[in-house]
């Protein structure tokens, strides 16, 4: 093996790739070769570092210098200064949100964003090259599979997962070990292991990052699961919208086959196991387990009533054990370090860690992994850095379209499955979207219902028709046409849908409305009774106004206005004709004096 004196790790996750990290890698390789450093320095494309806000991210080891928002033209300086002369490029170093300082000596784990985290599922993301199995092997890769196959009985493996307290990370929170046990107990000539990588919750991207950053961890875990329940074949169902994840997973499967870690007689124990990838085709409902299995079978992804549960009758009519990506990402670590180690983290009923995707109106968008029981406030303020531009926090949405919005007063809730449900939301797959004072909660509820109406498969009437009626009412309310009694109608419809829809998607569809009604009822009432949007967001309910005291008469607004609704003479305060105004907001964006506001 070649030994290098320095390694340049460049994030190749979707976020950083979108902001040009591939160009950075080419440029690094080019410059390193130009300076004859190619025998001394190696460039590695890793998976997601988590701090997407700072992307594209580059770390130079052994120093551990953390460079953020690196542009192609910065590469030359990093190569000639840092790599050639050993002088860190101070002005490109990441600015810690808490200290507001650039500290080139700071190690990754000391940065405020990472300090509160504990990475188990994400442990290899941003550390290894996901396209190189040797790097995974160097991080204890496939040792858990070896241990399970050579030192443990199938019952012992299941028992270890049970004792660890691991629960389904896709959102349901069902005890993983129990699922394994039930499928193990089913008798059949063929059983299947499946992985749900149809990450559909808008704003959640942990599964994608794990697949992109550490695909072998999923393969290893699925093989362990196959051994435990007695399956020789596995399927990974991935969203087609995740091309990088699909590519790295395919490479990883090929490499595992080549090394004999998939296929016949693994570790010469007589255990056979192989994996296939199946692509989704854009249907949110396919995240529901029965719908997902129908989709793998090549059918419309419509859910079916349970029982029978997949553990009894699943894929192609055979017993099937389906887990989510993040759930699998914990399995090898539990087998290696033991159930007690895992269960020592977290709360009484929610063990271990959970990955959250922080997004929306928050300074540090990205992926964080924290022990269960960490308060929401720590995640949003200490790790996430709070809302940008000094705006006031209004709500945090967890659980995607099945979850709810929690207000400021509940921020001290320790995050776990049961606490979030008690608070009126749910864990879901771990999306965490922060909203500030500019976001209208009625509009957010409408947004989620719009999503559900679009994604409802149409099989059952409560979901197909009921959500549509709810959305029509919400459309009316945000357009200023809300009527007395609308809130009660929404509540009644919500209860009916909850009680009668066929699958989880429908049963939880009213949650965003119910939770916003619970915590932000005054906003609904303001829309309906006063025809006013307190957040000044809903277009039909707001007006643009020019403050004559602040207006300098520069005419910029009048020139940009597409409706010619602004009049005034040069150097005199301008006025907006509310009859002509289209409320497009162009004038407000253009004004350099902050003279235009929404009222």
């Amino acid at each position: 093996m070649d030994i290098y004196r320095a390694h340049v790790l460049v994030c190749g996750g979707t976020g950083c790739s979108s902001s040009g990290s591939a160009t950075l890698i080419d440029r690094f390789n080019e410059k390193i070769a130009e300076n004859h450093l190619d025998k001394e320095v190696k460039v590695i494309r890793t998976g997601c570092f988590g701090l997407c806000e700072a992307g594209p991210v580059v770390i130079v080891y052994p120093d551990g210098t953390f460079y953020s928002r690196v542009k192609p033209e910065d590469v030359d300086e990093i190569v000639t200064e840092h790599l050639l002369k050993g002088r860190k490029v101070e002005h490109l170093v990441y600015v810690d949100h808490a200290t507001r300082q650039q500290d080139a000596e700071k190690k990754l784990e000391d940065i405020t964003f990472y300090k509160h985290q504990h990475r188990i599922a994400l442990r290899n993301c941003g550390v290894i090259d996901p396209e190189n199995i040797d790097e995974y092997l160097a991080m204890d890769g496939y040792r858990a599979l070896e241990k399970a196959l050579t030192q443990m009985t199938r019952e012992e493996v299941i028992d270890e997962i049970l004792k660890s307290g691991l629960r389904g990370r896709g959102g349901g929170g069902f005890p993983t070990g129990l699922k394994w046990k039930f499928t193990y107990q089913s008798q059949a000539d063929q059983k299947y292991v499946a992985c749900n990588a149809d990450e559909g919750d808008p704003g959640a991207f942990m599964d994608r990052s794990i697949l992109e950053g550490d695909p072998h961890a999923i393969i290893e875990a699925m093989a362990i699961a196959g051994y435990a329940i007695g399956a020789s074949q596995g399927y990974i169902y991935v969203r087609a919208e995740y091309p990088i994840a699909v590519k790295r997973l395919s490479i990883a499967i090929d490499q595992a086959r080549e090394y004999g870690l998939l296929g016949k007689n693994i570790f010469e124990t007589g255990f056979d196991f192989d994996l296939n990838i199946r692509l989704g085709a854009g249907a949110f409902v396919c995240g529901e387990e029965t719908a997902l299995m129908h989709s793998i079978e090549g059918k419309r992804g419509e859910p079916t009533a349970r029982p029978p549960f997949p553990a009894v009758k699943g894929l192609f009519g055979k017993p099937t054990m389906l887990n989510n990506v993040e759930t699998y990402a914990n399995v090898a670590q539990i087998i290696l370090h033991g159930a007690d180690w895992y269960a020592s983290m977290g709360t009484e009923k929610s063990k271990g860690t959970k990955v959250f995707a922080l997004g929306g109106k928050i300074n540090n968008t990205g992926l964080v992994e924290i022990p269960m029981g960490t308060p929401l406030r720590t995640i949003i303020y200490d790790i996430g850095g709070g809302c940008p531009n000094g705006k006031k926090f209004k709500a945090v949405q967890t659980g995607g379209p099945s979850g709810g919005c929690l207000p400021e007063s509940l921020l001290d809730t320790p995050v776990d499955y049961d606490n979030l449900i008690a608070a009126g939301s749910m864990m879901g797959s771990g999306g965490m979207i922060v909203m500030d004072e500019d976001n209208c909660m009625v509009d957010i509820a409408r947004f989620y219902l719009d999503f559900i109406v679009d994604e409802s498969c149409g099989k059952c009437a409560p979901c197909r028709i009921g959500t549509k009626r709810m959305k029509e009412i919400l459309d009316r309310i945000v357009e200023g046409k809300g009527e007395e009694g609308d809130i009660e109608k929404l509540e009644q419809l919500a209860q009916t849908i909850k009680n009668t829809a066929l699958c989880g998607l429908g049963q939880t569809a009213p949650n965003p409305v119910l939770s916003t009604l619970k915590f932000f009822r005054d906003e609904y009432e303001a829309h309906i009774k006063e025809k006013r949007c307190p957040a000044h967001h809903c277009r039909s309910l707001l007006q643009y106004k020019i403050d004559p005291a602040k207006c300098k008469g520069c005419t910029a607004c009048a020139r940009i206005c597409p409706a010619e609704a602004i009049s005034g003479t040069v150097k005199q305060p301008h006025v907006i004709d509310v009859q002509k105004c289209l409320k497009c907001g162009s004038c407000m964006e253009k004004c350099r004096f902050g003279a235009i506001s929404r009222v």
Binding site: G15, S19, G55, A281, G282, K299, G359
Partner: protein, 158 residues
């Protein structure tokens, strides 16, 4: 062989390769969508015959998933992310601006066949919100006033 004939030949190869797979219909439709850019009725018929399933089954699956389209899409497909993180950061305004600039409603194609405008589910690039893609090129941290400049690049004006 004409271009169309070679596309049909390619489709038949895909059918042949997947015929014995369990659940072959999805990967075959995905292949067809890639080759033709859509799955019109004649393509569905070939798939139905090739896999030995009914046309109604193929049609049922093809219309269920948003990835498959029955009509051809434009030369440039503009997808604006309407995931939650993008939405709270104003992606609807970007989408409205595009619709206005192109003069077409969301979900349709311009008359000259140059642009298709669509809203898409979460692209998972929430760190760059609001985000859109044009044929795979990603544009992040967007504001509505950037829209005309970006479109000009694809119109061949810049």
């Amino acid at each position: 062989m004409s271009e169309m004939e070679s596309k049909y030949a390619e489709l038949r190869q895909i059918i042949e390769a997947h015929k014995d797979w369990p659940g072959a219909l999805m990967p075959v439709l995905q292949g067809a969508q890639e080759i033709f850019g859509c799955v019109p009725e004649d393509v569905q018929k070939i798939i139905a015959e090739g896999l030995g399933v009914t046309l109604s089954e193929v049609y049922g699956v093809a219309t269920f998933y948003s990835q498959f389209s029955l009509q051809p899409k434009g030369e440039y497909v503009i997808s604006v992310c309407l995931g939650t993180a993008c939405y709270v950061k104003g992606s609807q305004m970007v989408l409205d601006k595009l619709s206005e600039e192109l003069g077409i409603p969301v979900g349709s194609t311009t008359k000259d066949g140059k642009f298709t405008l669509q809203a898409t589910r979460c692209l998972g690039a929430c760190g760059l919100a609001p985000v859109m893609t044009i044929n795979g090129d990603v544009y992040g941290r967007l504001t509505p006033d950037q829209v005309p400049g970006i479109l000009a690049k694809y119109r061949g004006e810049a």
